[in-house]
């Protein structure tokens, strides 16, 4: 069973300060839930930069190679067709499709990569049981503290209230 404490703050600055204070008090399992990306929260939460660019590159290069090989194989190897004495392996004519396929492969990989690494699609989540958590996509800046046991719950609750959270909610998975 996973447990969290959610605290709502009213501005991105307050959220950032609260997250920093929570970390310095030894809470490390933190997440921020906000209506728009908050500058600097990644450093506070020590999130590593995403490796999506590498994924995009690999997918793009694979797409390009795949497209070129298909064109070369079909036109020059499997069914050579001499049109106006043009070379069978006509590299320049294969460039447009090679480029487009690279873009398509890379974009699809990035799109699905973003949602896969975010753990989405996921239609239910324990946080959504908290009615006031709806503000997380409107104007509330929430911090989530994952806790292990009852002592942790109480400590996190006290810390959040002390840091000036507008409201604090307890969430349990499967509750």
């Amino acid at each position: 069973m996973k447990r969290w404490l959610l605290g709502e703050f009213k501005s991105p600055e307050r959220l950032r300060e609260a997250a920093r204070a929570l970390r310095s008090r030894g809470f490390t399992q933190l997440d921020a839930l906000t209506p728009f990306p908050v500058e600097g929260i990644d450093e506070v939460l020590e999130l590593k930069p995403s490796r999506l660019p590498l994924l995009g590159l690999v997918a793009g290069v694979s797409g390009a190679i795949g497209a070129y090989v298909v064109q070369w194989f079909t036109q020059a190897v499997d069914w050579p067709l001499n049109v106006g004495a043009r070379p069978l392996h006509s590299g320049p004519a294969y460039i447009p499709i090679t480029f487009e396929t690279a873009v398509l492969a890379s974009a699809s990989a990035l799109f699905f990569g973003v949602f896969f690494t975010c753990g989405l699609p996921r239609v239910t989540h324990p946080f959504f049981d908290v009615e006031s958590f709806r503000s997380a996509s409107i104007d509330g800046f929430w911090v989530a503290v994952a806790v292990e046991d009852d002592a942790g719950v109480d400590a996190a609750d006290a810390a959040l209230r002390e840091l000036g959270a507008a409201q604090v909610a307890r969430v349990e998975e499967g509750a």
Partner: protein
């Protein structure tokens, strides 16, 4: 102090007399004002337009049906004018799509803050425009139900598509463009769908938007990956825009026909695409801004920026016309010279001079700042540019074909009612998609506008702090 020194402001409002957001709102107010068009039931104007567009869509379906059952003989095409309205519509529609990607992707890469309020609308326009565009080459195939011959599927006949033909390039380019536009648009939409889910009162709306928003919680990890992915998609979409219209221009430029066989075509087509697309963005944005009451986020600063872009891309297009005619003359080739001459003085001259008026003269209005700020002038000008750009595409397609190398085969082109129905019907189909979009999805990116407002607040506060420190005697660190 453990607090790091304040960073330089992320941005200052680039046009102080024209703010990017009129007034200041709380996050909830901003969200509500941007979701109002979606949450409220539609008005009579929306239903009236929907009725009109549905009727035109029915006409479109009828015209497509006639084309499928009877054949392309129902069009006005013949030999030598074997390409006409269908290809004109295709080039025009796909060009319109390009401004959507330009506004959303290229301006995102350049960190142009004014894009945030208009990009969703422009991207939606792209999707419907590209969908319309994609239909025309298929219909033009003659036997559209055999379109899958263009895809390299492993058939027992071992018949492969001809990859040296621009037709297969088109297929790959358009389908890639459509798919990447959808992915980019949907990725940008997910956080706003979550806002819509959390704002809606009715359960069924919450469920529908909840499903579409894929369980977005706005976690810091989500935002980090989303921003990386969104930026990379923008980076991919930018060369894609240029490549797609370049490939469309190859359809013409690889032919040896005088008037088509020129190296100016790729940049000339791309410039024309962006020009016509911007005009269409304005034609849709200005009424939408008024009806949906978006004046606070689509301000005069946005209109000013769009009008400037229209002027700049119009100048590119004008340069293209000059180049085209100059090289027609400079080639010294009688056929080339003739291809350019019939535009100016031949049977197509009226259309040509309308093109020059709409595409070259009208945008020159926007050197004037007062005209740039006038929605009525902008709207009329954008409609004229749309007409001018359609006629330009028509002249590119039809004029060189009708009078080519051999005078004995010259023949001019007259459209049939099926041709006209396909054009008008596609406009209705486009309008139908756009009206449904306005009612079902948030038309302005809410999270981006909220972030923009927060950044503007922060930079204002920083500027105030700096000026206070500078003003105070002996102040400063």
């Amino acid at each position: 102090m453990s607090e790091p020194a304040p960073k330089a402001p992320v941005l200052a409002d680039p046009l102080v007399q024209h703010p990017l957001i009129e007034g200041r709102y709380t996050g909830a107010e901003l969200g509500e004002s941007l979701l109002r068009p979606v949450l409220r039931p539609p008005g009579w104007g929306w239903w009236a337009l929907l009725g009109l567009c549905s009727a035109l869509t029915v006409l479109f379906v009828v015209a497509i049906g006639i084309t499928l059952f009877v054949g392309v003989g129902t069009w006005g095409i013949h030999i030598p004018v074997a390409w006409a309205f269908a290809i004109t519509n295709f080039v025009w529609w796909i060009g319109i799509g390009h401004a959507g990607t330009l506004i959303s992707a290229i301006l995102l890469l350049f960190a142009e803050k004014f894009r945030s309020s208009v990009n969703r609308l422009a991207e939606a326009m792209t999707l419907f425009a590209v969908s319309c565009a994609a239909l025309f080459p298929l219909l033009h195939l003659g036997r559209p139900w055999k379109f899958y011959y263009l895809i390299p599927y492993p058939s027992v006949l071992r018949v492969w598509p001809q990859f040296r033909s621009p037709l297969t390039w088109d297929v790959v380019a358009i389908s890639t463009y459509l798919l990447v536009s959808i992915l980019f648009w949907y990725m940008g939409l997910v956080p706003d769908l979550a806002t819509a889910r959390d704002t809606a009162k009715e359960t069924w709306k919450r469920r529908a938007w909840g499903l579409l928003s894929l369980g977005w919680r706005g976690s810091a990890k989500h935002w980090l990956r989303w921003r990386t992915g969104y930026m990379l998609l923008a980076g991919l979409a930018t060369p894609l825009v240029v490549s797609v219209h370049t490939i469309v221009s190859f359809d013409f430029a690889v032919a040896q026909l005088p008037g088509w066989h020129t190296t100016i075509f790729p940049p000339y087509f791309v410039a024309g695409a962006i020009f016509s697309g911007l005009a269409m963005v304005m034609s849709l944005l200005l009424p939408a801004r008024r009806v949906l009451r978006l004046h606070h986020v689509v301000t005069e600063a946005h209109l000013d920026a769009l009008a400037r872009l229209l002027l700049v891309s119009g100048l590119f297009v004008a340069y293209g016309y000059v180049q085209e005619h100059f090289f027609g003359w400079y080639s010294g080739n009688p056929e080339e010279m003739h291809a350019m001459e019939i535009l100016r003085t031949g049977p197509y001259a009226p259309a040509f001079w309308i093109v020059i008026t709409c595409n070259v003269l009208v945008p020159q209005l926007f050197w004037n700042a007062r005209l740039r700020a006038s929605p009525v002038v902008l709207w009329v000008a954008s409609l004229l540019v749309n007409v001018g750009m359609w006629l330009e595409r028509f002249l590119i397609v039809v004029s060189p074909l009708s009078e080519d190398f051999l005078p004995s085969s010259w023949r001019h082109y007259v459209p049939t009612w099926v041709d006209v129905s396909l054009l008008v019907g596609s406009l209705g189909f486009f309008g139908l998609g756009f009206l449904l979009f306005l009612k079902l999805l948030p038309p302005v990116p809410i999270s981006e506008v909220k972030q923009l407002q927060h950044e503007l607040d922060a930079s204002e506060a920083f500027a105030r702090e700096v000026s206070m420190k500078a003003g105070a005697p002996g102040g400063g660190p």
